[in-house]
Amino acid sequence: MLFDALLGLLLLGLAWLLLSCRDLFKAIVLFVAFGLLMAIVWVRLDAPDVALAEVAIGAGLTGALLMSALAKLPVDNPPGRYSNEKTHWLLPLTLALMLLLVASGLGYALWSLPVIAPGLSGEVAANLEQSGVSNPVTAVLLNFRGYDTLLEIVVLLLALLGVWSLNSLDATPATAEKPANLVLDTLMRLLVPLLILVAAYLLWAGANSPGGAFQAGAVLAAAGVLLLLAGWRLPTALAGLPLRLALVAGPVAFITLAALTLLNARLLELPVEHAGMLILLLETFAMFSIGVTLAALFLGQRPQERGGSA
């Protein structure tokens, strides 16, 4: 309990500091630290799957993305106003009071909830055997609520479409990386194979223990990010249709499976005897696409295609 209270206070303190400190770089570092602390909280709350996702996506890749974006902001930009200095001091005060009221109301609503509520844990346990996997979180993500997951990986692809469309309208060329040095080169040679190995492990482990396509995909993306930071770029021959195929492989596998299940008249109903195999197949495609998409999101610019048109 003491541990929890301390952790909770630290979280609140970090949130306040990262949102109120004047230096944006400091805010980003604090945000990454905040994500790491969240991961410890997830572990405390018996949610190791979420902890994995938080470390890989919530803190790791988001942190890298934030730093990359901060570096792209105009250099002559005067340091951002800390808060809207045109506004009177009364506005923040009123806002704070209003939010305090809302938060108290919400707190009261949560407080009034029954102390014991099983949620859907009973249903999950009862149907776990038919799901094809023994990690309940994977069962929910890929089978019980697989339709959500289908839409979710489409959201990820949509984000990339949006980012690419934004950058394709921008005339300025992509920023070239500085040449890699020996330290980075060695680190990359060590880390990239390790990351790929860990991704494969997480994917495989996801069926029975914490892990799964999203965490594995994020680790794969981390390997991609390292490569990109070291100055590696996708060969122009692969940057057109092959890259697009890699990006849509996960969604397309999902959509195809959904269409096939329609022949049996029920959307996304996996036959019990093949469910485990189908889920692993689906997750493999998904991991691959998620990895490529996340790395592409980090790069931002659409890679140069053969034939010149960016």
Binding site: D4, I57, L66, L73, P74
Partner: protein, 104 residues
């Protein structure tokens, strides 16, 4: 007060802090950070309250929802950051220009 409700209340607090910053700070990067912080607070409420099963194992459906939520939040952040960089180039500062809007 058990740890489930404790963390849930912390989640509400984090959400509110994020909302305060989102409304008050004009810099777009800070607004994006604020939205992410709000999301984390929300996820904390979702998972903390799932501990109330009365058994050692928590309700796992919220955990799957939060993994979905983390991926969606990341997607939104990536899009928002790309948009921010473009807006900052147009406005010469990473804030929304307020000259074209006639309303308060």
């Amino acid at each position: 007060m058990n740890s489930a409700i404790l963390y849930a209340l912390v989640g509400v607090g984090i959400f509110s802090l994020g909302l305060y910053a989102l409304i008050l700070h004009p810099h777009l990067l800070r607004k994006i950070l604020a939205i992410n912080v709000m999301g984390s607070g929300l996820f904390l409420v979702l998972i903390a309250l799932a501990k109330r099963t009365g058994e050692p194992l928590p309700d796992l459906v919220p955990q799957a929802m939060v993994i979905t939520g983390i991926v969606v939040a990341f997607s939104a952040t990536a899009l928002a950051l790309a948009l921010m960089v473009r807006v900052a180039k147009e406005n010469h500062r990473a804030e929304l220009s307020d000259d074209e809007s006639q309303q308060p």
